[in-house]
Each structure stands twice: as structure tokens, then as C-alpha cells.
Symmetry: C2
Subunit: 488 residues, 2 copies
Amino acid sequence: MEIATGGPLVAALNKKDAIKLDIHYLDRIKIKKGKKIETVVVDIAESEKAVPEGSIGVYEEVLKSLKLKNKDKIGITLARKPLSISFIRKKLDGGTLTKPEIDQIVWDIVHNKLSDSELTFFVAACYTNLMSIDETILLTKAMAKCGNTLNLGKYPIIDKHCIGGLPGNRTTMVLVPIVAAYGLTIPKTSSRSITSPAGTADAMEVLAKVSFPINQMKRIIKKTNGCIVWGGSLNLAPADDKIINVEKTLEIDAESQLLASIMAKKQSVSSTHILIDIPVGNGGKVKNRKEALKLKRSFENIGKKLRKHVKVMITDGKQPIGNGIGPALEARDVLWILRRDRRKPLDLERKCISMCSEIFKMVGIRNSRTKVLNILNSGKAYKKMKEIIKAQEGKVFDERDIAIGKFKLDVSTFRNGTVTKIDNRTISRLARVAGAPTDKGAGIYLHKHINDKVKNGEKIFSVYSESRQKLHFVREAMAKSQRAFDIK
Amino acid sequence: MEIATGGPLVAALNKKDAIKLDIHYLDRIKIKKGKKIETVVVDIAESEKAVPEGSIGVYEEVLKSLKLKNKDKIGITLARKPLSISFIRKKLDGGTLTKPEIDQIVWDIVHNKLSDSELTFFVAACYTNLMSIDETILLTKAMAKCGNTLNLGKYPIIDKHCIGGLPGNRTTMVLVPIVAAYGLTIPKTSSRSITSPAGTADAMEVLAKVSFPINQMKRIIKKTNGCIVWGGSLNLAPADDKIINVEKTLEIDAESQLLASIMAKKQSVSSTHILIDIPVGNGGKVKNRKEALKLKRSFENIGKKLRKHVKVMITDGKQPIGNGIGPALEARDVLWILRRDRRKPLDLERKCISMCSEIFKMVGIRNSRTKVLNILNSGKAYKKMKEIIKAQEGKVFDERDIAIGKFKLDVSTFRNGTVTKIDNRTISRLARVAGAPTDKGAGIYLHKHINDKVKNGEKIFSVYSESRQKLHFVREAMAKSQRAFDIK
């Protein structure tokens, strides 16, 4: 049928066949083609036209798994429900899951054996009946195991992660070249934006390719000590993506799930030293310092049990970090920092230097701050970034080659005063309406940050877009949104 | 596309269109055709062939809702998530739902506004964070309101319900004619089998039609005081069926859900006096007396708050009730009882008499047992049953006109002794393998019950089937199953 279900393996039977075979909606059947067998969930087609009697309609995922072609002859038999159903029920009933149980659930998730509903029961069970730290660790290991892994045979392996939600904040693209320039290994995988104006992968894509199979990622790291690639193409801990998809429907975030999700990806690239950044406040994932401290303890706890060095920084999430928001504008900020351009955003630079110093300290490097500054100021970091861009088949090494949206809207203030608040959500929203992250050149450039003085008529931010119409939508959105800047 | 999703309204976009419009898997869009608008969940089609660029594929349910035809021009816009998402999340977080919140959730369920995953979150939330009795009542009322209702303008309105799982146990078909013959109103709706060899609707269908729209049901009751129809065709409390579908995936049964489910259907036919039968033990839904007592109290409690007279009987569920198991065999048992045939199953007759006496007592009839026996023995109950069969467009009034499967397998014992156990699950399973409930004449006939003496070589049960091959499958299943009879 060439329609994807986005996960579960589903096949549709004609209603008459289903009655004849006593097969019901959401039953499971085994489909056999030659020697290959796949178990799928049953959907019922009401009409002859969709699925004629005596034939079966299969969704994209089944097509691929069994390599089916039109008119292929297949056999079907009733199948049992997957083993993990009873384990999911156990968790829902408040039980504690064992290693084989968690392994089985994760295996079934990765192999699309669970229906949307069954997977949702698992996510709901872990959300309402919190997982213990031991269960979380088992989940982390199971998720890492059921996917690709990267073994570089080096020590230490550096990694970093930022708990999302803060616009700008493009630290990875500054940090990776500094760490790699010092000679440390940092196989960094990043995500694309889901609801924000840009993920690190989106911004890096302005300069170079970011989708690579895992062995090519390995080659890039061997050449340059580091990389900045999109995690989505690597099939690391694939169960995690499926779980996150379900969580998104209700916008829930089970702590155990968050921990396992992040740590599984680190586990699968064999990281040994991990720096975690938790920005706090104003529309981000972590609302306040208390929550951040709790999360910090959990990360440190799970790190210890996984025998990894984990350091958590709680940072200021009150306003965007950097001036550019949107893939191209963020990439330009990064190159300005690395090329020591006077237009570099100082807040982003400051944050990157302090994060890098922490990483250096974690692996026992003395005078870490001085060393970080040396690498930056000597141009070594920029040189390393060029190497990485080249290794990732990119051609943009200079911010002047970055195309910024050619339609621009300057927003000015009509009073004298001081910036007291910048609303992260509104800024994100406007950047998205302008076209980010799909239109790489779209986004927002902040001329002012919190505590900056402004004068009547002074520009506070500019919106860039690749289409006049989208800029028009931005104007409309501004009229309806929460105010982006508060000036008092 | 003429494929049903079995509930949620889903439409598929071509992948390229989805990227262009920045619409993601599981987002919601509004589809507009003429003046009709429907909000649907988005699926992504990977290929041109399934859904060409610039067009949209809609599933059966959307097709019907918007009355769409091929090549119709439609408009789409991004839509918000349904209101109930945040209420479901509130319940998942342990909150207590209010009337407007529960009303909205039920409305969204009935109108297919929730994805499988979202509905599952609701079911999981009510399962792990138990609903209070007040929430259960709100749910009951909301479910009854969002569907058809039957108003007969009479008092009292009798109803009964049996918590399923026990093979045989065809009390409704004996009870309804007795109650109706006395002049009381009993608008009984029943279910078809889901996992058992026969539901009441399946057995009644051997004698008469069971699918009627609600106004025709009303006419039948006006004529005969009672009916035995299939609830599925009446659209009573339709949210309930969708919730049960989700519960089935994990075989869970939230008590609040069970209560609301049963009481909503009673509420929608305006029953005033309800007798509930809870059989206990041996593979049934309720495992032990303690559980049954708890459930009894909950039923009485919710009955009081709904201002209904609810009486709960806890009965013996150790073995099948009646001799026949399977639609035709059960219908035959019923007619034997009503026609006072010497082959009537005494255990089923005894149970029906005691249930009927309870119902008579509930509405204040004295000497209830004597009256029930009179109605049975005088032939009034049988006469009433014939009226009901005729009103339901049936033609089978005599058990000799019931077709029993022509292939038969007698199972005998090879020892002398006493029957100590009959395994309900094995009996159900064998009856299903023989073809029940789809093949009406298939099933099992028990020659012995618990405590009966048996002699070496004596028949203990017979299996009937409409096909030689299925009988062969029964033989295979018997070799693999738990033993059906224990004899010591």
C-alpha cells in the first residue's frame, strides 16, 4: 500500500476474509513469504477496492521487512501477542521490571512489534509508576544495545548534551572544534529541530553535510578527532525515537525516560566523560532550580552506575544564548566566534569557554581556562572546524558565504529604558513563522539582551525570511503573540 | 483509501507536501470540503503511488464523515490538538477530572478526535490513577449522553448484567421472557462474543434477528414488554466500545471503567432496577470472593448515586452453566427449559429461577419464587418467548428446528470416579476451535458436571462442528490443551 504507519507493522485484510478466518481488528498474524516470516497487527479493509477478497494490503514497513512485491503469494497464520505485552502490564500494575523483561520490551519496540496503543501503555506505565534507577539503567543499556554502536578504541571519549528548549545556544559547534583541536576525541551526534527554530544538526547543515552512516562517521573522527553529525541517520538507540514520538502526543517527559534517552545515545558511542547543560527557566524544559538540581543528582547517579564521568552544569535559561536564531544565523554566530570576529556574540562565547574548561578539568587538564582561550585565540579551533567541515563534505568555511534570508523586518522600541525580559517562546515562534528551520536563512537576530539599555527608535531585533509572504505572517503573529521583549 | 482505522480520523499526505507545509506525522489538520470541516490526524505516505503530490488519502472514517468522493477539491489548514489532551495529561499526573473535562474527553472519543495513542493514555491514566466514585459517575453519565438513549416512559424498567467469562450461562434468554410475561418491561441489550464461544446476541441470533435500530427496538418492546437484541447496532454509549478495544490490547480492566461501561449502557436505556451477576472463579473475570465483594460494594455505591436499584448476586463460576456451549447448543438449552423438556439443563434453570425471584423481590412482588415457577410451568414464559422471537423477525420456535453441527466427536473417560474439575478455559477454547461462535452449530455439549459420578467408557462431553477439518483441529487442540475434565 506504500503508506507508512510510522512504526508498527500493520497489514489489512478484506473484511470477508477476516470473518472467514476469525481474525479481528488488532489481532496479530504471521505473514510468510518464502522462508521469511513477519508478525504484524491486523487492520480490516471494508471495501473490495482497498483490499480485494483473497489478498492482503501491507503497509510500507511490512513491504520492506518482507521485501514483498505486488502479486506475491503469501501464507498467513494467527500469531500470539508479543511477549512484552505481559511485562508492560506488569509495569502498569506497579511492578518492577527485570533485565530480560526490559530487553524484550526494547527489542519489540525496535522491531516494530508493538501497536501504537501497546507502546503507549508502556510509556504511560513508566510515567505513572516511576522507574527505579536500576530499571532506568537497564533501559539505557537495552536501548543502546538494540541499535548501532561506535567503538573507537580510545580513552577518554568526550561528549556533551544540552537539555533542549533554549533558542540559539549553539554551543556544540564551538565546543567540538576546541576539544578536538586539543587532541581529545569527541564523536558528537546532534538532533534536528522538532519544535524549535533550529537544532544543532540544522545549523551545522548550513556549513556541511550532517547525514552519514556510522562507519563514515568513524572515518571522519579518525581524521579530525571529532564530528558534528545528525544522530537520526545513525540508528543509535532507535527505540528512543519511537518512545519520544509517543511522549510528544501528550507532551509528557518521564524523568526516567529522559535520562535513559540521553544516556543510551552516549552509551552507544562509548562516551566516557559527559558534560550535561541544564538551562533553567522561561519556557525551557526545566522550569526551576529545584527541578534542575533533582535532575542533576539523577544524572550523576546514573552516570556513576554506568561507570561514566558525568558533570552537570545548571545554566541561565532566561533568554536566548547568542544573537542569531535560525540555522544560518546561528552558524554565522559560531563562525564569528571561531574566527574571532568583533561581531561574535559574547554570551555564547562565554558559555562555550566555561563549558570547555569544565570538560578539560574532567579529564585532568590543568589551567583549563587558559588552554581553552589559547586554542580559540590562536586560531587552532577555527582551523579544526575547517577540517571537520571538509571531512563532512562541506564547502562553507566563511560566514560571508552563508545565505541569510533576503527579506528583513527590523523591530524597534518606542521608549527609553532597559530590557527586562525576552520571551523564549515568542522568539522561537516568530523564527519558525519566518521559515526556520526548513528555510535555513530564516530566523531572528537579536540586537539587545536582558539588562541592555535601549533608546526610543533603536532596533531591538530583526526578522529574516526567504519569502515576503512569510515575513507578512510574522507581522500578523507579532500582533497576536505574547510580547517578545519587555522594556522598563 | 477505503481502509478503516477502526476509530481515529486519519488522512495521509504525500511526504513532499508534508515537508512543504511543515506538517508532521501525528500533527492535526482541518480538512474542508464545501462547508463541512473535519479535524484529522496526519499520516505520511512515502510514495507517489499511494498518495500523489498535491492530493490527500483519507481513511474510511474521514470519507464517511465528509462524504468525500475521488477528485473532490479540499482545503487543509493546521489545527490545534483537541482540548481533551490536557485533561488526559491531568489525569495521568494524578489529578481529579471535573464534569466539563470528562464530558469533553468522552465527546472527543465518540467523535474519533483522539489518536490511538492519546486514547490509550486516557485508559492507562484511569487504570493507574484510579478514578473516584464521583469521576466514575461523571464518566457513566457522559458515556450514556454521547449516544442513543431509549425512553420508554415506564416504571420500573428491569435490566440485568452478567460479568462475563463463564461458558454457557445463557440466563438472559430464560429471564427476559419470564419477566416480560409477568408484565414488567425489560429492554435487554446483549453483546456478541469477543473471546468466548458465544455471547447472548450470538445465541439469540439462532432463533431471531438481533440487529435493530433503536426505534425498532422500541416498537418490539411496546409489543412484547421485552427484547433480546445486540447492543452493538444501537449506538448506546459508543465511547465505551472504543475504550474496551484499547483495554483488550493489554487485557486490563480498570474497575472504574468496568463500572462505567456497564452502568452507562443501563443508563442509556433508562433502567431503574438492575440485577448484576458476578460469577467467581476458574478463568472468569473475577478471580475470588474478596474481589467479587469489593466489586459488589462498588456497584451498589454507584447505583445509589445514580438513583437506581442495584442488586448484586455473587454466583458460582467454577464450571460452565448449562450443558450446551456454542450459539445453537445454548439456544437449544434455553428452549428446553422454556418448553419444560426433560432434557433441560437443571443448573441453568435453577440459576434463572433464583435470578428472576431476586428481580421480582426488587420491585416488591411477593412470593416471587412461586410466581416465577408458575410463569415457567404454565407455559407463559415460552409463549412470551415466541412473541419476542416473532417480533424480532425470527422463525425458530422449536429446538428441533435448530441446526447442530453434523460432525460430532464423543469424548469418554477411561476410569471410574467423580468429576472434580471442569476447566472453563479449555472448554471455551475447544468450542471455539470447533467453529463457535462463527459457525452457529459448533460447540460442546457437556454430559457431566462437577460431582457427577462417571464410569470407565462413559461419555463426558461431545464436540459438534460444521466441518470435518475443524473437528480434526479440535483433536489436535485437545492433545495440547490443559485437561478439560479432572476425574478422581
